[in-house]
Symmetry: C2
Subunit: 223 residues, 2 copies
DNA sequence: TCACTGCAGTTTGTATACAGTATGCGAAAT
DNA sequence: ATTTCGCATACTGTATACAAACTGCAGTGA
């Protein structure tokens, strides 16, 4: 299903990628007309795409002024990551019950595939997808689709900051080590330790991002 | 802000009310043309309204077949209410720290106002808003806007089932008693007991809804 | 100098018009 | 009798066109 894709969906998907990729910083205005020319469509599907992105929290509409990309404050970033800790440990714990070897195999496959990509080229662009796919594979056995959907939302909102951090630091290797650790603990069915590791995994990523933002703010102040 | 309201927003708000009010049961198709005539607008704002409702989980789009109202399974209802327990106890605990007398006063005002409305007429239509306003007043001191937004989402999704339950049972009085209890525990700054009460408050509402759905299913089977 | 008003230009929000696709029914083939 | 094909119909998804609203600037008045 969903073998067919409307133009609005195509624009939404591509534009999401561009926003998360950092092409539009700060609260820049997104002009419908310009985007329509970019994608060679009319403004209608562009508007629909922007509405979708609004519901995802990536842009905001101002009356008669159009859509602006959102900028998260440090407080909101912290809040998002705290929510991720709460929801993802909750789901992971539930997933540990019905965890089958097939589930573990799938998660491992994703992990190894990315290890390989990392060694050969180190392409960061796809990291978010790999990262998300690995986590989802671990969480899938919980069979909590609404919860996974919320987690997906939170990840989308925080994604561009995670990418920003990855570009400037060497966090990927650390994350990969932690992913392997998570998989090992899942194999042992040790829910407590796995949740603990997941918690620090998320929290440390958050601290890294906040530190980076602070540094940037200082540089901007005194160049 | 938001002093101006687009037609799309108006349609979305009204249509949300109609869906939550139970006007469209099951997975009924919502025809854009008919809705456009209903509201005396073109199909464009109707489409945008439907997209908004899709992001809220109230309708689903099928390719070239338009929007259908969603129907929640018992499993998903349970999942939603479990999430509410998780997030709302989390927020309530945080709110207990910075809780001021002004906050308590505001929550009490809402509660008393509704008690009054209940005694004089007992109008159920506004109950959802009152209920939500009371909970939000208690949660506000936590200063976690993203979290409150998620909670709001969950409430919207489960709202029509709550209403359904209220029509057929005498749950409102019970809920009101629990609200008073919650407020009292908040006054005493007893976070543990307050969270415990909130948990059962939500869980029992869930069980009531599930029981009602089961009953309906049986009636439909053997009329 | 500074605040306020009015006009031009730009951009959004919506109506209308058109093209494309899914569905259902009937006829033909097995 | 059952299945498959084709066509008519209805509805969606999108392009084009237009009206309303916001922004910025020039000019006036204090």
């Amino acid at each position: 299903m969903a073998t067919y894709k409307t133009r609005a969906q195509f624009v939404a998907d591509d534009l999401r990628g561009r926003i998360l990729g950092g092409e539009f910083k700060g609260g820049t205005q997104l002009r419908q007309d310009a985007l329509a020319r970019d994608y060679d469509v009319s403004r209608i599907p562009v508007r629909e795409a922007l509405l979708t992105l609004e519901s995802e929290g990536l842009v905001e509409f101002h009356a008669h002024r159009g859509a602006f990309t959102t900028e998260l404050s440090v407080a909101k970033i912290r809040e998002l990551f705290d929510l991720r800790v709460l929801l993802e440990t909750y789901v992971l714990r539930h997933a540990m019950n019905g965890l089958t070897d097939a589930n573990l195999k799938k998660a491992e496959d994703i992990l190894l595939k990315y290890d390989e990509a990392l060694n050969s080229g180190g392409d960061i662009d796809n990291w978010s997808e790999y990262n998300f796919a690995f986590h989802q594979a671990l969480y899938a056995p919980a069979d909590l689709p609404e919860t996974l959907s919320l987690i997906s939302q939170l990840n989308t909102k925080s994604d561009r900051y995670i990418r920003m951090q990855l570009v400037y630091t060497q966090e990927i290797e650390k994350a990969e080590r932690e992913h392997h650790g998570l998989l090992e603990l899942a194999r042992q069915r040790d829910a407590d330790k796995a949740c603990e590791l997941l918690k620090t995994h998320i929290q440390e990523a958050c601290e890294g991002i906040v530190a980076l933002l602070d540094e940037r703010a200082k540089q901007a102040e005194a160049p």
